[in-house]
């Protein structure tokens, strides 16, 4: 691919190769972290948003975006944090949710703007699909995960938390 003919679509294709370091089966597009891509004066400008304010992986992900897009398109890349959009779990794509389930992490329930505590009850178990489960702790191994327990198969499982 030559730089002169690179399109926005090519940049999106390159972004599919940038995986989340904590959930390596998901790329940044599936996670809903990319809010804008533009090509201006031969530079790819990519706007992104972190999932959580204190996400320790943000600068690592930015670095991966720069390196991967540059490698695959040959373009110089500028990555900025978009402050006008905030991440919420509804931004996860359907593909992302399916991949999460296969990875053993329950997907977040879709919420209608305001998050209510009840939404965390009866989260389907990613192992046996039972809804006979309860929330053990709203905090897990990373900021974006909660811990649940399945009363049917006896497994403790993680869930990607629903976030407003």
């Amino acid at each position: 691919m030559t730089t002169a003919t690179t399109t926005i679509a090519d940049i999106y294709t390159a972004l599919e190769q940038v995986m989340d370091p904590e959930i390596p089966v998901l790329n940044v597009l599936e996670l809903g972290m990319i809010t804008g891509v533009t090509l201006y004066e031969g530079t790819a400008h990519i706007k992104m948003i972190p999932t959580f304010a204190a996400c320790p992986a943000v600068s690592y992900i930015q670095q991966n975006i720069r390196a991967t897009v540059n490698k695959l398109t040959g373009l110089p890349v500028q990555v900025t944090v978009d402050k006008e959009v905030h991440w919420q779990s509804n931004r996860l794509t359907d593909t992302a949710k399916e991949k999460l389930q296969h990875f053993g992490i329950a997907a977040p329930q879709v919420h209608e703007g305001e998050l209510r505590a009840e939404i965390m009850l009866n989260t389907p178990c990613p192992h046996c699909h039972s809804e006979n489960t309860y929330l053990r702790s709203p905090f897990g191994s990373t900021l974006c995960r909660a811990i649940h327990y399945c009363k049917d198969c006896g497994m403790v499982f993680e869930q990607f938390k629903p976030v407003e």
Partner: protein, 255 residues
């Protein structure tokens, strides 16, 4: 924006950020010591969130209000230049105290960030949407454990009541009025401490009743003020000493 309003917003954001940083540091002191592993993880995660919120607020000061680099500002300042409330700076003590502090503080934060959804200062309004969503999990966690321990037998219930009695005047000190409250309210920044305090009481009251806890009479107990004006307990100095120890070895080091 005129200079007086800019100064008032800076004061407000600094207090919010200092509360988050200092309580975040205190929360992190439970890492490795939590009574059960889930609680160890919960307090560690909340510490990470809080320090992240503090950093984002310090960044607003730096990017929009002529403030310093967040790390320098967090680690090098003297105790008297911090404006956190006394509630945030006290040592973790026992789990009942830390849990009750977390309950009262996070509901106060939730009320504050809810009010900032309408803030006329755009950077703060934008950040508040994100923080508000994250705080849901802090209050969810606090509510669940307060209720569980209050229903966990006589000793457990008594200890939670004692923790509430101790924490209440400290928590009321979160809402220490500032001289610029009216200015900030007029400019549409936020409604002022008194309004937030009333909303906070209305939020926690039914939760405490549900847990069979008696809210101390707010009119009879003087709030523990002073933090917003740089007057602190001796515990803050000790905390800052420890928190900045590594940073001060080489303040210009890149991490």
């Amino acid at each position: 924006m005129n200079a007086a309003l800019q100064k008032a917003i800076t004061t407000l954001i600094t207090s919010m950020a200092d509360d988050a940083l200092i309580l975040g540091h205190r929360n992190s002191e439970w890492t490795g010591l939590g009574p059960i592993m889930e609680e160890d993880i919960a307090f560690s995660s909340m510490a990470q969130d809080k320090i992240g919120h503090a950093w984002a607020l310090y960044r607003i000061l730096q990017e929009h209000l002529g403030g310093e680099d967040p790390d320098q500002f967090a680690f090098i300042r003297a105790a008297k230049d911090f404006t956190c409330c006394h509630l945030a700076e006290l040592p973790i003590s026992s789990y009942d105290f830390s849990l009750m502090r977390h309950f009262l503080f996070d509901h106060a934060e939730a009320v504050r960030y809810e009010s900032l959804q309408q803030c006329s200062f755009e950077p703060l309004q934008q950040l508040s949407k994100k923080v508000k969503g994250e705080l849901k999990y802090h209050t969810l966690h606090a509510d669940a454990w307060v209720l569980q321990l209050c229903r966990g037998g006589e000793e457990s219930q008594q200890r939670m009541q004692a923790a509430l009695d101790r924490c209440f005047p400290l928590a009321a000190g979160i809402f220490e009025p500032g001289p610029q409250d009216a200015l900030l309210a007029d400019a549409g920044i936020y409604p002022g401490e008194q309004t937030l305090y009333d909303k906070w009481l209305n939020t926690i009251y039914p939760l405490l009743v549900n847990a069979s806890l008696n809210l101390p009479d707010p009119a009879a107990i003087p709030p523990q003020y002073g933090g917003r004006y740089g007057n602190h307990t001796p515990h803050l100095q000790a905390l800052l000493q420890e928190m900045g120890e590594v940073f001060r070895l080489d303040p210009t080091a890149g991490w």
